[in-house]
């Protein structure tokens, strides 16, 4: 990859790298820092990375590993806070923004490997084989992370919906 190709890669894949980090942390500042670090690493080793599918796979792998490293470093020091993110999606279908915000928070609270699998599956639309290759883990492990993550999200979302339904009644009674 030449320097010009690196620059066009930044333009083309900035959304992908930033989105993965954003879904991982639910914190725009940390996501931006991580995304910048990933592109700087690509710049340092850009001669060894081929443009196209190889570059996309490299960026996904580096972003997820960088995110996991950041979480592990933070767990030894300061905790990472979760910020409400400004909602600027690429295409915005009509959905409940509060529920989306809640789901994003739930994803960001999952254990880091499960979180990485969930982000790649539902954010990047990768199948289990591609996730396994990206995270260098067996497909069976990917499936077990997916099942565990989905079950946790489903359970917590159901609890959230129930609380939301009961909220007006509680307000009326008080």
């Amino acid at each position: 990859m030449t320097k010009a190709e690196f620059e066009s890669s930044v333009r083309e894949y900035q959304g992908m790298v930033y989105s993965i980090a954003c879904s991982f942390f639910h914190n725009a500042t940390i996501a931006e820092d991580v995304a910048q670090e990933v592109f700087l690493r690509l710049y340092e080793g850009h001669r060894n990375v081929e443009i196209g599918a190889h570059c996309v796979a490299w960026l996904r792998r580096s972003t997820v590993h960088r995110c996991i490293d950041t979480v592990r470093r933070a767990s030894h020091g300061n905790e990472i806070s979760m910020d409400p993110l400004p909602d600027i999606p690429v295409d915005a279908p009509e959905t409940d923004p509060l529920l989306q915000e809640h789901v994003r928070r739930l994803v960001a609270s999952l254990p880091e490997k499960t979180r990485a699998v969930m982000v790649l599956r539902f954010g990047e639309d990768l199948d289990a084989d591609e996730i396994g290759r990206t995270l260098q883990m067996p497909v069976s492990t990917v499936w077990s992370h997916l099942q565990r993550g989905t079950a946790m999200i489903r359970e917590k979302s159901a609890r959230y919906m129930k609380e939301k339904e009961n909220e007006p009644m509680r307000t009326r009674s008080s």
Binding site: V17, Y18, S19, V90, Q100, V103, V107, F122, G123
Partner: protein, 105 residues
Amino acid sequence: MNQCERDLHEALRRREPPVGFEAKVLARTTAPHAPGTFSWRWLAVAASVLVIGGTVVIQEQRRAESEKAKEQLMIAFRITGSKVRDIQARLDSIQKRVVYPQLNP
């Protein structure tokens, strides 16, 4: 796809990076000493130069101190030698006067 998976897809859909993200990345790649591109190699070289320089300075200081000590010792020997010669001369004159008074009327 069930409702939970649909919610996950919606919640984790792609987001635009903040304005100026690309410019920030490109600026960091052209910065001469960008924090992200800091090289540990240069730190190691600087540390080595510091250690070697420090060793040379310390050795030079020790050599100068030993030269000074040697010089002071030589001065002390010279002073002691002249004192000894002086005392010897006095003893000789006393001896001549006491032991051989007839020779020194």
